[in-house]
Amino acid sequence: MRQGRSGPLHRDAGKTYEANAMAEAALKFEPSAETASPLLAVDNIEVVYNDVILVLRGLSLKVPKGQIVALLGSNGAGKSTTLKAISGLLRTEDGEITRGDVTFLGERINGIEPDKIVRRGIFQVMEGRRIIADMTCLENLRLGAFTRRDNEVKSDIERVYEYFPRLKERTGLAGYLSGGEQQMLAIGRAVMARPKLILMDEPSMGLSPLLVKEVFAIIKKLNEDLGVTILLVEQNARVALSVADYGYIMEQGKIVLDGTADMLRSNEDVKEFYLGQGGGEERKSFKNLKSFKRRKRWL
């Protein structure tokens, strides 16, 4: 590849700061006791796209039952890939887990068809909403409950409408909903599925501030009311950490930092690079950024 000014994604191996590496070591947290019997455990997985592109390089994480775990990281770090590896949707994109295990409720689930994984209780809210454009909202919601055979579907639909009253008014095709409305619908679908674990890929993307708050409140509520465990991928680290119990930070296909939400929130690097509280508590203005910023890298 041509050598050029390096962007945030592809850094030259030589630029690793040793000092950082040492600081890192100090930052590692002891795994909490709860993770002993997690609902979901991802153990040292390696994921390859198209047989040649290595994206995840030995990633491990644990999601304890009943918790909200946040997975943070920059663009292209492989967050979505991680979720897809768990839900099995990877293979529909020519991706493959070449090493490592994903265990859910003590059973190995990698290699299982995605629909069977859903039946086992893992539901992914995909990046970019992916609602079914040529169906109505109601039909989309009903499909969310596809794997269910009980007769509480109706009341759950009402519950979704309670969460997102706006959806009830939209009777047309879901494809014509605005971006935010589609996001609500996507989350609503997850509610309908009543899974044990929801994998959420950037639920706040494209939502207005008010709705972001609402959505996260609902996520919290889902977690508290229904006891759903949630693995949350988010760019909006501040909000994510405010609802999460535990957090992981990943870079270039690896976990570089993890800890309880509180610990992460008080970590200086996280503060600077994910929460935007460089140095002091005051947020920097977007207007006056220097062209040459220092970039924090853990790798």
Partner: protein, 356 residues
């Protein structure tokens, strides 16, 4: 990281010009040039049978490339390519009959076919996807019907004679000589397509395919490019058909049916949609497949297996089945076509011994 970004170490481009070449690497270019040079010597080494297969690959390959421009690059499926191929053949035969020198007739036939293609491409302004595909099915039947009716043009159901290819009085119609004619056209047409795809209009075609809404807002006139794709595609089909006509010396409606159109589709899908060299690879595959199964069948006939199982006629059917089966298996294992596999192999070797 996309596979396309892989480039061997030490291959630094120092100017934009060097970076905008048709060939991804110097090696690829060497391969292609060497291939053409080697091909020049083919008539000295190969039997007429092999040569005729190569000629067939040549003219079908040109037409297939045209279809790939339409289907692979601009994303509009056509199931009527054979009639444009046929139109080129008839037009060239017609023009040559009227006294136009054959080389010129071939080119004019291409242009004439372009005009017809543009006409049948008009629905593309409004109709999309499979709906458009079936609209091209209409072109298939309407033109087929036209061929048998337009006696003045095609000789009606009798068909038309096509004059042999001569250039400045030299007769270039035997396999060993006509081979060079076809080779010349193949090189020119393939270079043309490669150039097109790296310049403005080619990019616009692909843009329309990938995301026509945003293409439009980037200033690309959808109607123009959708229709134009039909024109260009027909031009290639026309040239291919004209080459065919002067090779065989005769042109008839028979054989220009939907099965032939579907074979063209087979070529580009197997070769790889949206790949220029893939069109040629797919053509090679589709031309050689029946031959190869034929060899297999004749090798089998009379063999022990044959005697034990009393295959006899079964063998000919098994051969057809094998053709079908090969297509099926091929696509199951290589749904993105030969060109894709080729790219992966290249990527693999570049990264060797680090396979990831």
């Amino acid at each position: 990281m996309a596979i396309d970004t892989l480039r061997p170490c030490g291959d630094y481009r120092t100017s934009y010009k060097a970076d905008q070449t048709i060939f991804a690497t110097r090696l690829t270019m060497l391969f292609c040039v060497a291939g053409v040079v080697l091909a020049c010597f083919a008539p000295f080494f190969f039997s007429r049978y092999i040569l005729s297969l190569m000629i067939q690959i040549g003219y079908l390959g040109i037409a297939a490339l045209g279809l790939n421009i339409l289907v692979g690059f601009s994303g509009q499926i056509s199931v009527g390519h054979a009639v444009f191929f046929g139109f080129g053949g008839f037009a060239s035969a017609f023009l040559a009959d009227k006294g136009v020198p054959v080389p010129l007739a071939i080119v004019l036939a291409g242009l004439w076919t372009t005009a017809v293609g543009l006409l049948f491409g008009l629905p593309a302004a409004r109709v999309k996807g499979l709906y458009l595909a079936i609209a091209t099915l209409a072109a298939q039947f309407i033109l087929q019907d036209f061929f048998v009716r337009a006696e003045w043009f095609t000789g009606g159901t009798h068909g038309a004679m096509a004059a042999p290819f001569t250039l400045f009085g030299y007769d270039l119609s035997g396999d060993d000589r006509y081979f060079y004619v076809v080779l010349f056209f193949v090189v020119v047409m393939y270079l043309g397509a490669a150039n097109l795809m790296r310049s403005r209009d080619g990019r616009a075609l692909i843009a329309v395919r990938d995301h026509y809404l945003s293409a439009e807002m980037m200033g690309v006139n959808l109607t123009k490019y959708r229709t134009m794709a039909f024109g260009i595609s027909s031009f290639y089909a026309g040239i291919g058909g004209a080459l065919y006509a002067h090779y065989v010396g005769f042109m008839s409606v028979e054989g220009l049916d939907i099965l032939f159109s579907i074979q063209f589709l087979g070529m580009i899908i197997i070769g790889g949609l949206g790949s220029i060299m893939g069109s040629l690879m797919g053509t090679i595959f589709m031309v050689l497949l029946p031959e190869a199964t034929g060899w297999l069948a004749s090798a089998l006939s009379g063999s022990v297996i044959d005697q034990v199982l009393h295959l006899k006629d079964g063998l000919t059917y098994m051969r057809e089945m094998l053709i079908g089966l090969t297509i099926i298996l091929f696509l199951i294992f290589e749904p993105d076509g030969l060109a894709h596999r080729w790219r992966l192999i290249k990527a693999y070797w570049k990264l060797y011994p680090f396979s990831y």
